[in-house]
């Protein structure tokens, strides 16, 4: 069995932090939209927006870390087509992790509700209030999110498949274990 090579600690921490925020923000978004107007709804919308902007920031850090650090090589057992598919999926995941919060931010501006990060830091409205555009952006935001959901299912499924079916120490790559070098 090959030795475990894992991602650097900052990469691992960022991966799980962002994963946690997405797993909180996604169902929160689904739940809040159909609520009747109430103070709770206003709170949940704010929390959702704060989560999204936090993801956007963390992903900016992640991308710069990823571009300046070499990830651990995939085990030899991973087929060529899987390597290509993995590169495409990872690229799309990064793209969506940027596009989704951005579309939400733009949607907020178009709907006339500025995003104020943690109720403290106002983000500039990049576009003016425009109801029709706001509705379109809401649709874009939804479509992007369900695309992300599909890709996350693929991403998690592939990791589990490599780990449990091919019996490669795959999950450790994003784990906390002792980092070993070949």
């Amino acid at each position: 069995m090959s030795r475990v090579m894992r991602y650097s600690t900052p990469a691992v921490v960022l991966h799980w932090l962002v994963a946690l925020l997405i797993f909180a923000g996604f169902p929160l978004g689904l739940y809040m939209v159909d609520l009747p107007l109430s103070p709770d709804k206003l709170k949940l919308y704010s929390y959702h927006k704060w989560i999204g902007i936090t993801v956007l920031l963390l992903v900016a850090v992640r991308v710069s870390w990823r571009l300046t650090h070499v990830p651990p090589p995939l085990p030899a057992s991973v087929a060529a087509w899987q390597r290509q598919a993995s590169a495409v999926v990872h690229g799309l995941l990064y793209l969506l992790m940027i596009a989704i919060p951005l579309s939400g931010w733009l949607m907020s501006s178009a709907k006339g509700f500025q995003t104020v990060w943690f109720g403290v830091l106002p983000l500039p409205d990049l576009i003016g209030k425009d109801k029709a555009l706001g509705d379109q952006l809401a649709e874009v935001h939804t479509i992007l999110n369900f695309t992300l959901l599909a890709l996350v299912v693929l991403h998690v499924g592939a990791a589990l498949q490599h780990h449990f079916i091919e019996r490669q120490p795959f999950l450790q790559r994003m784990g906390w274990g002792k980092k070993e070098r070949t």
Partner: protein
């Protein structure tokens, strides 16, 4: 003293009262606005009322005789979103089926100098009346003069946003009101 200057001063002094002897009393609704701004979850939200009727009298030479009455049709609200417009009609907010209008009736106007005035009056919302003090700036204009004012009201003083909405951490108690009333002397 230069005779020309004396003549000029005299003419100006004579012309002045004539220029100021206008009593503004015809409001131009198209040029008049009532807007408000409040914070919800720290986010500034702007809104306003599209329909309101204003009666006023203002003579710059006799500001203490000035008066104003405003009646706002609460159904003409823009509270930031269609959802909020609907909600504002509910019993917890304006209870609009019982109290369809907001009214303001001035009681006293005091000149502060520099075209600035202090207007006191009674604001009635949802059946509750409170005295408000509103600073107003008078801007003489070619066709219409404008009267700009702004003040902060506390929505809970009027029971606007009761029950679950009374939580000021979500929707702030303070509501900034800004208005511009344009009026002509004819």
């Amino acid at each position: 003293m230069n005779p020309h200057l004396i003549l000029f001063t005299l003419t100006a002094a004579l012309a002045m009262p004539a220029a100021y002897a206008v009593e503004y009393r015809t409001v131009v609704p198209q040029q008049s606005t009532i807007q408000f701004e409040f914070r919800q979850m720290g986010v500034p939200v702007k809104g306003g009322f599209k329909r309101f009727a204003t009666q006023m009298r203002f003579d710059p030479a006799k500001p203490e005789a000035a008066s104003a009455q405003v009646e706002i049709d609460l159904a003409s609200i823009d509270a930031g979103s269609p959802e909020a417009n609907d909600e504002s009609a509910s019993r917890l907010w304006f209870n609009r089926s019982v109290y369809p209008k907001a009214t303001f009736v001035s009681s006293q106007v005091r000149a502060l100098g520099n075209n600035r005035y202090e207007m006191r009056g009674s604001l009635t919302l949802k059946g509750r009346s409170r005295e408000v003090v509103v600073p107003v700036t008078y801007l003489p204009g070619k066709n219409a003069a404008t009267f700009d004012g702004s003040f902060v009201l506390k929505r809970l003083d009027f029971g606007i946003g009761e029950g679950m909405w009374a939580d000021v951490a979500t929707v702030a108690n303070e509501v900034q009101i800004r208005f511009r009333i344009a009026a002509t002397g004819s």
